[in-house]
Symmetry: C2
Subunit: 432 residues, 2 copies
Amino acid sequence: MQDRIWSTQLTQHVGERVRLAGWLHHLRRLSNVSFLVLRDRQGLVQVVIEDPALADHLEKQYHESVLAIEGIVVAEPQAPGGVELHQPVIDVLAPAHEPPPFDLFRPAIQAQLPTLLDHAPVALRHPRQRALFELASASMRGFRAALRALDFTEIQTPKIVSSVTESGANVFAVDYFGRTAYLAQSPQFYKQIMVGVFERVFEVGPVFRAEPHATTRHLNEYVSLDLEMGFIRDHHDVMATLTDALAGMLDTIRAEAADTLALLGVVLPQVPPSIPVIHFAEALTLIFKATGEDARGEPDLAPAHERWLGDWAQREHGSDFLFVEGYPMAKRPFYTHPNPHRPEFSNSFDLLFRGMELVTGGQRLHRYEDYLVALNGMDIEMLNGYLQAFKYGMPPHGGCAIGLERWVAQLVGAQNIRETTLFPRDLNRLIP
Amino acid sequence: MQDRIWSTQLTQHVGERVRLAGWLHHLRRLSNVSFLVLRDRQGLVQVVIEDPALADHLEKQYHESVLAIEGIVVAEPQAPGGVELHQPVIDVLAPAHEPPPFDLFRPAIQAQLPTLLDHAPVALRHPRQRALFELASASMRGFRAALRALDFTEIQTPKIVSSVTESGANVFAVDYFGRTAYLAQSPQFYKQIMVGVFERVFEVGPVFRAEPHATTRHLNEYVSLDLEMGFIRDHHDVMATLTDALAGMLDTIRAEAADTLALLGVVLPQVPPSIPVIHFAEALTLIFKATGEDARGEPDLAPAHERWLGDWAQREHGSDFLFVEGYPMAKRPFYTHPNPHRPEFSNSFDLLFRGMELVTGGQRLHRYEDYLVALNGMDIEMLNGYLQAFKYGMPPHGGCAIGLERWVAQLVGAQNIRETTLFPRDLNRLIP
């Protein structure tokens, strides 16, 4: 049996007999001829069927049946891609048992989001759906390559943990051989510990948040692109590294997923050499002056205010990205480093991307004695491992975390983060 | 303040004043001079201290205190690396609060494994301990690069799942908003579903096994390097791809971690262009003839028999690797594809690496009707999402999974898999 080639390789084989394999994407019967569209990993190809018996046989197959097709490659300017397959011999490798719940051959699936998610295994086959996860894949690759170039080391840290990292309420409990353990809300403690080992580390992996609210921008499990680095002056060094990482992610998408961008009609943002920065307090003052909404004294930005700041960054700086730094200490986690000159504000930041929080980061405490104060009253026993790192000498350090699904959602303008999540987990959804 | 440079960059700066930063690895006082060894991410450097007051000050610091040091780079053939730092100005960025629980400056840590694991945040700082995880990092990078070159797409699939994938007994339960969910024992269902989308996928991520036994080669959470591919003839296509992936992992280690290999004294194995293959039944016959131990009729290989086969592969084929194919269907999971010619045996394989099972893989069922038979009596409702993939047409496909920690353990000859796990999770260990 001949080896198959990809649909995208056909143009190199004009005049030859080749073997393709893929899914029955569409079949259109005309009076004298039928056109079958085969979909494989790389794209679509048109197959011309002149034999009525073969066309009859294929008409009995549901869309999405798996086919192997041998035929002659013919240049045809009218055909999608400029080539098509003639004189096909078609083998049904695995029939579909039902028609798909929606038409996969149309430019977009005509179905509501819950229907798409219920049928994710088949909905994801649509070229536009699939393309979203090609962007995710290229983004991970770019993140790793950019950090690798900056001497970061990849780590994989445990997801079953003995204590909460971010906040006690929003954690999933696991029955661990009769004991209660938790799912890690972030790799925070471990990436800090590993700064003591490698100085610069990153991790791409799942994080788990048991937040019981249902919004269009939150998930209960998502993929976090984490980095952490030592020997920083303050959080600005983390912001500079994050800027490099984002530029690397976009470079990789641009270089390796150009077809995907074209299919989706996505225009990538430019990462400015230096992303504009605004202080949290200044941001609230701006919003107050412009809108009359007085959020001064609040510990965080409301989503509407993030959107306002996104527009402002676009207007004033021509930037899709905006750093907001200096969030009040009040609502930041215990390991947050205060601004030494204005201790009510933290050396932390959020990165807004097109008006939505994409990244949270900052400088962390690094002195053992500061942790003993910050953890006053907490269960030190469970944090014993974490505290070891500081007891035995830790440099000034900081880091941040990008939410992968949110990143892709903002890139493509998705209204709901579930659109850019393979198999979302939320209050109501645990299947598929 | 001057930017720091890495210890490994010193040779490019002889005669210049530079700034280094890192950990107080060791201090040795002689009558007229003291030698401080500073450790950073990249290596060690010797700092010569002639000022008695400075030496007095440093002697009060515990090992592992974090220092920034400015000084003049001097070529000194006697010094480690051929250079040392003179006329240092030393800033203690963060003191250690206790002496470390063992000496990190000795060639190896003098402590038993449980002590090392209890103090992992500081034990991992030892250059030999750290080196193990540089191998892990390079291995992941090589795995991804090799598969990327073969047109595989990276995916990230959910770890909180609604049903068990491998076997019902060995699964961790999660309280998911009042419902019982589980931690994924493998990405098996999702990577199969995604073959329907991308044809070729891989995932690097955590898997969770609630096996209550305590051995030197099992963990309850580990990192799995998974791949799955469509349009295969049978499991031999998976074995060929796995061979490429392993070669890629070793190539990356060789190219990017040569110093690490030298430090650990590790000699990498060669991956033969074609790894020898033996049928399961033939393997048991060989063992019976050679040892008199009759395990014919058993559904799996005992660890001792894997070791025997590892020696045999070395002896007969000069290979560190051996494929054992055709395990009996009896003990393989429900999605396993039988050998069409000998249906009591499966189209599955294990890869033994130096006499230990490193990889399990095989061809999967791909026809919807075969799943309905295989799942007869199981809770189909929970598997509805998985079954969709087959209902709407799936090609012949298969895949495999490499255990990252076991891979590194076998590479370096570690006796216990916990030695090559950052923060192991087992029956008794959930901290740090």
